[in-house]
Amino acid sequence: MPKDRSEVLQGTLDLMVLKTLDALGPLHGYGVARRLEQLSEELLRLNEGTVYASLLRLAQKGWIRSEWGASENKRKARFYSITRAGRKQLAREAESWERISGVIGRVLRLESQG
């Protein structure tokens, strides 16, 4: 079973990365990692390296693209941005995520009542 759990997490991470790029525009991997850290308020502790695995998956599917640029401190850095296909995918995923979380929420409430 451990495989399944990691798959769910992978999907979730991909969704978060995609949303981050959608909301903040082009970012480098470090930026994405900072943003996720910020958002999850330390609840989600992840090895920042896994962000790159997620970025690669998204790029292979054509949902994000990357180009080289200069970071704030004048370093060479690869910037990732969301593509049109990525936005569509994000909309789909977000919708299904809300539906599922809604269902789960209802189920959980139901249990606590019973």
Binding site: Y30, N47, G49, N73, R75
Partner: protein, 881 residues
């Protein structure tokens, strides 16, 4: 779906650069983290480690992404292939049987595909072939059927239609004699409209082709085939405009067709094209239906719309000329490719389907072999997993092995296909259009490769699933009885499927054999043994009609004098020859208006023809030398003719007026029926005897017919003597189409024979493969149940009971396969209906015979394993575990 794959392929090509870039990216990330920690107050050393901790395993991540970014590196695949090769070489028996099985399946399907591709799928070799349409009037009598056009009708269609860019008439079947300084040769000629080449979109290699004014009577122009130009005129470019003697008249060479040009596509004998001016006598006869037509639609015009307009014109012509056109008021416009391949299309697709079944059976066999092997290899896989191979890697390994097997199999298959084509193409002869062009070309190779890949994936699925699902640790512990049982059930299912498919093929083969035997054994109405037939053609320019008759008389006289020749005569056309002439006639007692008159086949024969052919005279008299042009006009009819047109009456002495004359000056005349002969088959494949009436050759001189010699010796032995006789009469008259009676009848049923031979070889392949599959499964079952068998023996079971045990298992599989196969065979039988003659495909005898054959071969296959089982030594079997 494919996007990630493409992305990986791209990444593979830039592997090194991407790796370096990623290293930089990670380094930058780490540096930024470190700076952040320093800002938060850590020492540089502390910050360095904190950054690494936060990032996670750097090296691991790099490795991980490197693997995911690109395809498995080439060296991994090469290693896989090497390993696969070693594995295959280690198991020589397995590899040989699997590769051979695959070669059989792939070879047979590639051969059939090559034929289908050449005959049916390939477009016509002309410009924009989609716009080429066959055009024909529809005769509404009986079952409405396409018929030929007369010149006046064709000219009206050509002039009045607005849907065809070009409409071209063509008429073949003529042999022209080329007489120059060289010995005379006979070439096939096609008489066509002037714009044939323009219509096809073909530029002659030399010259201009024909011009419109060259359709006028009296013009003699010809376009030569490339081959004729090379062989007869040495490829001389100066040939253009030169005059050559054809049939004794000077013809101007207007062009040379490009190499490989054929028109009509299905006729391999045409070497020369000339315009309709050659048909001077027929240009004005609206009743003489002798032409086929083909046209090129104007851009954007559909066949449907073209037909509507042609129908209108046909309707108007029928009203204008009711005597000749009343029955042809409708037309047909159909893609030329469809007309060409129409009759071959369905049988070839059915044969491809049949060979597909053979391929499936072969796949099942290989899957079976692989399963048996993967059982043996369970330990190897377990070991490899234990030392770190991932499941995907194992599956990849299996797939690579299968692919290698598939490639070896398809290489063998291509070789086999080549051999098969060499063997089967001569069987088809010219009965299937274009088939002689079949070869193993690029498309056939691609097909073979695709089939190899597809089958490799197909037959490696089962073993792969097992690797993925299997409790590998369990396998190490041996005694994984559950896995073995499931695996055995799967293998049994494969064998059942094989038997099902095999039964279908067996039934199909039986149907075609029965149909072929029916055709071959059917009495053609004349004796085909000791018979030699050949054609000659007398050039019109040197032999007028009287001279032709005189030549024919002298020739027959001299041919009869050849030692070993019993009788000589001529007939036009011969039975089974594929040619038919049909002429309408008016019955004296029951006169009818021209369009409503009956019509039937005719033949023109010399006295002694019926005797030479051994067609029995049933009533009245044969033709004699006294039935000359001046004598009273007489006819002989066959039994079917008498029965159909004079039922219950004595036909002798009845008079009919055939619509056939000696020329423009000749009147139609009442002719008296003086004899009745037996039915000789004109068309080999038709079910019922066709009515036919015979003219004595001196009373209807349409040229010299085919010569028939009844011999006392094997017929080929008199051939050279016959040539000598002919040369003695006129050196310029060549002899062609020399055939024995047996060749004549074999040619007539070449297509059914071709189909039968293919189907039977498929059924034999299928049966062999099925037997092998059954044998394999049973042997395995015996090995697996060794202990059980030993136990039963120890408890007192006899040899007979053990044999019965194994046979029972065999028969269970066979019974299941046959039950399923019955349904399939019923469907298959219905599909074959259009390919069989004279038998009932639904007859249960066929299914019953196929079931018997399957059961008998299965018993043979079960015999060896059963004997092994009976030979089990109970003591050793029980001790072994």
């Amino acid at each position: 779906m494919l996007r990630p794959v493409f992305s990986r392929i791209r990444a593979t090509l830039r592997r090194r650069r991407l790796d370096a870039e990623f290293d930089d990216e990670v380094q930058a990330h780490l540096d930024m983290l470190k700076e952040r920690f320093i800002r938060l107050g850590m020492s540089p050393a502390e910050a360095f480690y904190a950054a690494r901790r936060q990032f996670g395993g750097v090296t691991q991540m790099k490795e991980n992404l490197r693997e995911r970014r690109a395809l498995p590196p080439i060296d991994v695949l090469v290693e896989d292939a090497r390993h696969a090769f070693r594995q295959l070489r280690k198991a020589k028996g397995f590899t040989a049987s699997a590769a051979l099985t695959l070669a059989l399946g792939i070879g047979a399907s590639t051969a059939v595909f090559a034929v289908l591709d050449t005959v049916v799928l390939r477009p016509l070799p002309f410009a924009e072939p989609g716009r080429l349409m066959a055009f024909a009037p529809i005769d509404r009598r009986g079952t409405p059927h396409p018929t030929s056009l007369s010149y006046p009708n064709f000219f009206d269609f050509r002039a009045q239609n607005r849907v065809f860019e070009h409409l071209v008439s063509y008429r073949g079947g003529e042999r022209f004699t080329l007489t120059d300084s060289l010995p005379a040769i006979q070439v096939g000629a096609e008489i066509v409209s002037w714009d044939l080449f323009q219509m096809l979109g073909v530029r002659p290699e030399l010259g201009r082709g024909f011009r419109p004014e060259e359709e006028k009577p009296g013009t003699h122009v010809a376009v030569l085939s490339h081959a004729l130009w090379r062989s007869r005129f040495g490829g001389d470019p100066g040939i253009l405009g030169r005059r050559i003697r054809i049939n004794g008249s000077p013809f101007t060479v207007a062009g040379v067709a490009p190499a490989g040009f054929r028109f009509p596509v299905e006729d391999t004998t045409i070497e020369l094209w000339t315009t309709v001016s050659a048909d001077e006598e027929m240009l004005y006869q609206r009743g003489a239906r002798v032409l086929d037509a083909i046209g090129r639609l104007k851009p954007g015009v559909t066949a449907e719309r073209a037909r509507a307009q042609m129908d209108q014109i046909a309707g108007a012509l029928a009203r204008q000329y009711p005597d000749d056109n009343k029955n042809v008021a409708k037309t047909m416009v159909m893609p030329e490719l469809e007309r060409l391949t129409g009759r071959s299309r369905k049988p070839l697709w059915i044969l491809l389907g049949a060979v597909g079944l053979v391929l499936l059976i072969a796949c099942a066999n290989v899957a079976n072999l692989l399963l048996a092997r993967s059982t043996d290899r369970a330990r190897e896989f377990t070991l490899r997993t234990a030392i770190g191979a991932s499941r995907p890697a194992l599956v990849r390994q299996l797939l690579v092995e299968s692919l290698m097997l598939g490639l070896v199999g398809s290489a063998g298959g291509v070789l086999l296909a080549w051999v098969m084509l060499k063997a089967i193409l001569p069987l088809a002869g010219e009965s299937i259009p274009r088939i002689w062009q079949t070869g193993i070309d690029g498309r056939a190779l691609v097909f073979a490769a695709l089939v190899a890949i597809l089958t490799s994936v197909l037959f490696s699925v089962a073993p792969a699933i097992q690797v993925v699902r299997a409790d590998l640790a369990g396998a190490l512990k041996e005694g994984a009885a559950n896995i073995a049982r499931g695996r055995h059930r799967f293998r049994s299912a494969l064998v059942v499927a094989q038997i099902t498919l095999g039964l279908m093929l067996l039934v199909g083969a039986e149907l075609l054999i029965a149909s072929f035997l029916h055709l071959a054994q059917r009495d053609p109405g004349f004796r085909t043994d000791h018979l030699l037939t050949f054609d000659i053609a007398l050039p019109d320019a040197q032999y007028n009609k009287a001279a032709q008759v005189a030549f024919c008389d002298r020739m027959i006289e001299r041919l009869r004098a050849i030692p070993g020749v019993r009788a000589a005569a001529t007939g036009m056309p011969l039975p089974l020859g594929g040619d038919e002439m049909s002429v309408s006639f008016d019955i004296e007692q029951r006169p009818a208006a021209a369009p409503d008159r009956p019509h039937s086949d005719i033949a023109i024969v010399t006295p002694g023809y019926f005797g030479a052919m051994r067609i029995p005279l049933l009533k009245g008299r044969d033709f004699t030398e006294r039935d000359t042009a001046d004598a009273p006009r007489v006819l002989v009819v066959n039994e079917a003719f008498a029965r159909q047109y004079f039922p219950g009456e004595d036909v002798i002495g009845k008079r009919i007026e055939p619509g056939a004359t000696n020329g423009r000056q000749d009147e139609m005349q009442m002719r008296e029926i003086v004899g009745v002969v037996g039915n000789a088959k004109q068309a080999a494949l038709s079910a019922d005897p066709e009515p036919i009436y015979y003219f004595p050759y001196k009373q209807l001189s349409w040229g010299v017919g085919t010569i028939v010699l009844r011999t006392a010796v094997p017929p080929r032995e008199v051939e050279s003597a016959a040539r000598t006789v002919l040369a003695g009469l006129d050196k310029q008259v060549p002899m062609y189409k020399v055939r024995t009676g047996q060749e004549l009848s074999a040619t007539a049923i070449a297509r059914p024979r071709f189909q039968m031979v293919l189907m039977v070889s498929f059924a034999v392949f299928a049966l062999l493969l099925t037997v092998a599959g059954l044998y394999g499964v049973l042997s395995y079952a015996v090995a697996r149940r060794r202990r059980e068998i030993g136990l039963r023996m120890a408890l007192g079971a006899g040899r007979g009971e053990i044999l019965a045990l194994i046979f029972r298992e065999a028969m269970q599989l066979v019974a299941a396969g046959l039950a399923l196969g019955l349904a399939g065979a019923a469907i298959g039988g219905r599909l074959l209906e259009s390919m069989v003659y004279g038998i009932q495909p639904g007859d249960p005898i066929f299914v019953a015979a196929a079931c018997c054959a399957m059961v008998i071969t299965s018993i043979a296959a079960a015999y060896v394993p059963a004997k092994q089982a009976a030979a089990v030594d109970p003591m050793r079997a029980l001790r072994s575990e």
